[in-house]
């Protein structure tokens, strides 16, 4: 889960990572209270999209009047389809040098990857492409500690300012702790800056590993602050993995791979999927009826394709869910069902014992997709 900048910075607080003094505001009345920040103050739109600076979402205010003016301008602004609801006000730093640092998992190496560069504050992807030697890459074995001597070596290799080695070392150590102990998928700081007030992390790009939610109760608080599209809210509450798309064939399947593949097969047959909906492994009857409910809310859906290959998921439970959700109901669209795998015969028996003129059973993924596209015309 990608965090807002201010959420990432609240993690900086937790892990003792030096960053500018700041305050959050959600409406202009918040400015009536004393803000307790030294001017100049940077007004930063909190949106989860790149290029907010160019879009006018970041401004430097030299006094309270400018602060009010910029806050009014930026709050409510639309940046690439994202409405600005929150502003981060930060004491501006006098920047002497700007660096780049990131911590992530390198899947191919199965190790943690630290990337460090003296050329921060700019497009780091361009640096990596044009001057790869300016980006120092270092892998850490996940079962080992990051040693102070290694950090010194990295600082040296990346040509960072040696006069600040101690504070740089401290902040890198703490960022690494935040990445590992804090179960982050990504911690990216650009710029990591040397300022008049010492070494500071001026920006934050943080993504959390939600599988680790059970270890960190605050993951939940962050999650609640992140807006999700209205269309996906209902599905999320029901624990379904749902993404809205712009076609008309509603898709329900089990397993991300099979659902993705179902999207492809619908496209091969000339249709377009209305959504991606994975009921996951081991779904129960109520999971399937919730999935059908979620699709009912989408006006674009003209037909529904249920594509199940049972493994840990049992087809008889899926069939029960379909019957539960549709029995005695006037169906708004035809449902085309394909069941294979664990207990599929039992599942098909259940469907046949409860016939419905809008429910069609097909034997293969291809023929089911074809019929779903056809019925939705």
């Amino acid at each position: 889960m990608d965090l807002f900048e201010y959420q990432g910075k609240s993690l900086y607080q937790k892990f003792n990572i030096n960053h500018p003094n700041s305050k959050l505001i959600k409406n202009l009345n918040d400015l009536n209270d004393p803000i307790n920040l030294n001017f100049p103050v940077v007004v930063k739109a909190q949106v989860q999209v790149g290029g907010r600076g160019k879009a006018g979402g970041i401004k430097v205010a030299k006094d309270i009047n400018e602060l009010s003016q910029y806050s009014e301008e930026i709050l409510g602004m639309d940046i690439k389809g994202h409405k600005v609801e929150i502003l981060l006000l930060e004491e501006a730093s006098n920047i002497l040098e700007e660096y780049y640092i990131s911590f992530t998992l390198d899947r191919s190496e199965k190790k943690y990857l630290i990337m460090l560069s003296a050329k921060g504050g700019m497009d780091i992807e361009q640096v990596a492409e044009e001057n790869p030697d300016d980006l120092v890459k270092f892998h850490v074995s996940p079962s080992e500690k990051l040693m102070s001597s290694t950090i010194s070596e990295l600082i040296n290799k990346a040509n960072l300012n040696k006069d600040h080695e101690e504070s740089l070392s401290e902040i890198i150590k703490n960022l690494y702790l935040m990445f590992t102990e804090g179960d982050c998928d990504l911690v990216e700081v650009n710029p990591l800056a040397i300022t008049d007030d010492g070494v500071m992390a001026l920006d934050s790009k943080v993504s959390l590993d939600m599988n680790a939610k059970y270890k960190h109760p605050y993951f939940d608080d962050f999650e609640q602050e992140i807006p999700i599209p209205e269309s996906e809210k209902n599905a999320k509450e029901k624990g379904l993995n749902f993404i809205k798309l712009d076609g008309s064939v509603g898709i329900i399947g089990n397993g991300a791979g099979l659902v993705m593949s179902t999207l492809d097969v619908v496209a091969e047959n000339g249709g377009k999927a209305a959504n991606f909906l994975d009921i996951g492994g081991g779904a129960k009857a109520e999971t399937v009826s919730s999935a059908l409910e979620v699709l009912e809310a989408d006006q674009n859906v003209k037909s529904v394709l249920i594509n199940i290959f049972g493994g840990i998921t049992r087809c008889d439970l899926v069939a029960e869910g379909i019957i539960e959700a549709t029995k005695g109901k006037e169906l708004v669209w035809p449902i085309i069902i394909r069941l294979d795998g664990t207990n599929s015969l039992e599942g098909l028996e259940i469907l046949k014992a409860n016939p419905n003129e809008k429910i069609f059973i097909e034997e293969s993924m291809d023929s089911a997709a074809k019929l779903a596209v056809h019925k939705g015309l």
Binding site: E125, A212, F309, G341
Partner: protein, 291 residues
């Protein structure tokens, strides 16, 4: 022959007393797999449908000669369970558990690699089956047929789909393996394909990938250099909306890899036959085998 498991495989099930563990372990046993033990701390001496329970894997191994562990324990305990199985003497650990934190997976993999000789399949995988010999995991055995095609896939349900297509055309399988789609999987496409290439009974390989990561591109490189057997491949997600990238760091690491197009191109360049839908897998393999 088959790879990794056969009729002599003896399985200890971690989490046998849980609902999922019990359902699937008993299905595996009904298929003919030697499920020789289960573990559950504090429940040693009890049994589940005649399968003896031990307090830990080491005891189970010394009493029953189990060589493969099948793990169903919840995410918070999965790392410890897998390490326990490896240090307890199992050569192969098949971890079905979904939802393990990436850090736990990375640490687990690192320790296994440095301190043991055990192989890990998964986590978040459907396990593997050598048709007619043994089923270790949650794959529906009804769709399989003993034969000579090796199947390897990142996705559970798509593995079943592929196997089903082969069986429908009377093309049997030597071993079918789901490696799982987590950030740090144990065995990779390459590890499995290398074994299929070396296995005298495997005559062709089906490889199912999906968008994201670079595992398919790496496998394509390996196939180009080392594989002489025919490979039929399918990549899911051609029409899927682009996934999120892990910041600029993610973009730098993966470059232009990870898309369906890049993977299909890499596999085609490596000499694999890449089909457009999973239903074409069976026919493509049949055509290859028949020349």
């Amino acid at each position: 022959m088959s790879i990794l498991i056969d009729e002599n495989t003896k399985v200890v099930v971690q989490g046998l007393t849980g609902r999922e563990g019990q359902f699937h372990a008993l299905r595996n046993r009904d298929y003919g797999t030697k499920i020789v033990a289960g573990t559950r701390p504090g429940k040693g001496g009890e049994n589940v449908e005649g399968i003896p329970i031990f307090d830990d894997v080491e005891k189970a191994v010394s009493e029953t000669d189990a060589n493969v562990a099948l793990t169903f324990v919840p995410p918070a305990f999965a790392k410890d369970a897998v390490l326990e199985a490896a240090f307890g003497g199992c050569d192969l650990i098949v971890c079905i558990t979904e939802g393990i934190p990436a850090k736990d997976e990375a640490e687990m993999y690192d320790i296994l690699k440095k301190e043991t000789n055990a192989s890990l399949l998964g986590p978040n995988c459907p396990g593997l089956i050598s048709p007619g010999k043994a089923n270790v995991g949650i794959m529906p055995h009804e769709i399989t047929l003993p034969g000579n095609i090796g199947v390897v896939s990142r996705s559970g349900t798509l593995t079943y789909q592929a196997v089903h297509e082969l069986t429908n055309l009377n093309i049997g399988q030597s071993t079918c393996i789901g490696i799982g789609g987590d950030p740090v999987p144990g065995m990779s496409f390459i590890d499995v394909i290398e074994k299929f290439q070396a296995d005298s009974e495997t005559e062709g390989i089906v490889m199912i990938g999906e968008i994201g990561g670079t595992a398919e591109e790496e496998a394509a490189d390996f196939i180009k250099q080392n594989v002489t057997k025919p490979v039929v491949s399918y990549i899911a997600g051609v029409t899927a909306p682009p996934g999120k990238k892990m910041g600029h760091a993610g973009a730098i690491v993966s470059g232009n890899k990870g898309t369906a197009e890049a993977k299909i191109q890499a596999l085609t360049d490596a000499g694999a036959i890449v089909v457009k839908t999973p239903t074409e897998i069976g026919k493509a393999m049949k055509d290859v085998i028949n020349g």
